[in-house]
Symmetry: C2
Subunit: 355 residues, 2 copies
């Protein structure tokens, strides 16, 4: 077990070592380790050496000049200047929040960024300000649209955070695919197959090989196949791609830059870097916030008390599992898979740091 | 075959007969028949007598005083005064569009309304103004959350319309369930079973009975079951419920008022009527609109040319099937099922109109 405090320190040290200013390295570490705390292990320190490799490949700028390039009172585009998505993301959400304070809501599309960690983290920044927070990002193309052989979209997550009163906030954070890539990684480590409907092979045929995507296959949009609504998952992933990248001027669809540095960038990229999209809406832009929070408490309580199908199940509120995991891991520490420990140990040696 | 012009005239006459002003009756007819034109037969004139029954039950106000009750420069809440959702919807979107003209984006949550037709219609109003349009609504509770026996949510659709240049606009319009209720109605008429993963019975067990929902069962969230991501469909349906109804002060979750007048309203409704949510974002709030449109054309063309799994399939752009259907039905007329013809004929007799 590793304490989140120690993991954050190490992560901050790594980012400082590649040249990030101390405050940005600290912010990036906070965002990255929040994934480990919330149980999204695929998006936490397991990715740390990947960011370093992006920096080594000159695809990541440790000292970016993050700036607004276009704006109205409620909208903006931000150029992330190839900075860490873990830093660009929170700064963009901060601008959305400032706009919401002024005119009720703020909407920020970001270009020239890269992987921003877990979408849920960013939406919660708005929730802390009594706002609804929305966060999404495009990502490395791994997903085939309905009827398609080719990988055209990323797992393109959407997060929505909504404040409540006595109850903890509602936090939906979902990849627009049937299963996120992290779920495949867990099965790969266990040597198990996937359920049907998660993956197809390079010819577009359904398979259950957890390594199928690495072999040229693709993840499937939420819904799995046409009969079960995969065209809806494809629609949602497309909306995320367009809001994050076409609106901002980032690279979109099959041209989205891959996170892994060993894959080359596409020829003729139609935009700059990866894109994100953030929204913040002030609750009291719609109704008095205490009134809203009472009704959210009522909503949450009613849904939590929904009669379950079987007695050993309970109906969950979006955000429940991650919050319970966070509490547990704050108390007991974060378990890391041996391959991650090995990776971080090697990273520490390379950068002459202690892990 | 029935011409859309004739169906609109008849629909307008019906709404005028129950007391709607001519301009609002005309608008409502336009919205309702747009569903028949776009091939969403369940949401078109098949529902006309249902609106009349709501009016007979005193749940619908033919002469509403639709007004803004709360606002900031980019947000508002609108009280629909129990008016036709078919009229309240476009008026609310118009306010979102006006706000977007002023400050870049506009976001309007609506209470005290009822069924607003197809979500896609409203999002296209923004598209006509070079804006991205978003439209959603809560609806009669028919959907069980993951692990639940009870019906807690509606099919809660989300529509997103995005303008392009040479290409037609991107229009995603999707229920947040595996299958919309209209799909069940088609199977009921044919006497066929549903695929697995669409419906559960009153005890929460998976069934394929197309009449299952009427027998106390429930529709399933997009994803069908936990293993295939139904918790994501449940998240999305919940977000639609909260944006449409908790934010506005409408009735939410299991208390959402049913469309059919023979079902009683819930006791202790926590809000007024049904809720909707609309958004409009000016393209040039983010980047010059001609530049955006060129990239949308590029996006659409690239996705349309995605290599399909088999030669007899093609990868579609959201909005393609509905637009093709609209063209065909404008030319050839709209086919109505004999049960709908019978229903409209009886309605005409009752209201002393000609059908």
């Amino acid at each position: 077990m590793y304490s989140s405090k120690k993991l954050k320190e190490f992560t901050q040290n790594v980012f400082q070592k590649i040249g990030c200013p101390a405050d940005e390295a600290s912010l990036a570490a906070e965002v990255l380790v929040s994934a480990d705390l919330r149980g999204v292990d695929s998006h936490g320190v397991a990715r740390l050496s990947g960011y370093v490799r992006l920096w080594e490949a000159n695809r990541l700028n440790a000292t970016p000049n993050i700036k607004v390039t276009h704006h109205t009172p409620s909208t903006a585009v931000i150029d992330g200047d190839k900075g860490l998505g873990l830093v660009v993301g929170p700064k963009a959400m901060e601008i959305a929040i400032e706009k919401a304070k002024e005119v009720g809501s703020g909407w920020v599309s970001v270009k020239n960024s890269n992987h921003f960690g877990i979408a849920g983290y960013h939406s919660l920044l708005a929730v802390q300000n009594d706002m609804i927070g929305i966060s999404m990002t495009n990502a490395s193309p791994l997903v085939a649209p309905t009827f398609a052989k080719e990988r055209m979209l990323g797992t393109n997550p959407i997060a929505v955070g909504i404040p409540a009163g006595e109850q903890p906030p509602f936090v939906a954070d979902l990849a627009t695919t049937t299963a996120a890539n992290g779920k495949l990684e867990i099965l790969q480590r266990k040597g198990e197959d996937t359920p049907e409907g998660w993956v197809q092979d390079k010819d577009g045929h359904p398979i259950t090989d957890a390594h199928g995507v690495k072999k040229g296959g693709a993840l499937l949009p939420l819904g799995s196949d046409r009969e079960h609504g995969s065209h809806k998952g494809y629609c949602l992933g497309s909306v995320v791609d367009i809001f994050s990248a076409v609106l901002s001027g980032a690279s979109y669809g099959p041209w989205a830059p891959p996170f892994v540095s060993f894959l080359p960038l596409a020829d003729n990229m139609p935009g700059e870097g990866l894109g994100h999209f953030f929204g913040a809406m002030r609750i009291d832009g719609f109704r008095p916030k205490e009134e809203f929070k009472q009704h959210m408490d009522n909503w949450i309580t009613r849904f939590r008390n929904t009669e379950p199908v079987s007695k050993d199940q309970k109906v969950l509120i979006p955000g429940d599992p991650e919050r319970e995991m966070e509490q547990q891991r704050l108390n007991e520490g974060i378990p890391l898979h041996e391959s991650v420990v090995k990776d971080l140990t090697e990273l520490a040696q390379k950068l002459e740091l202690e892990f």
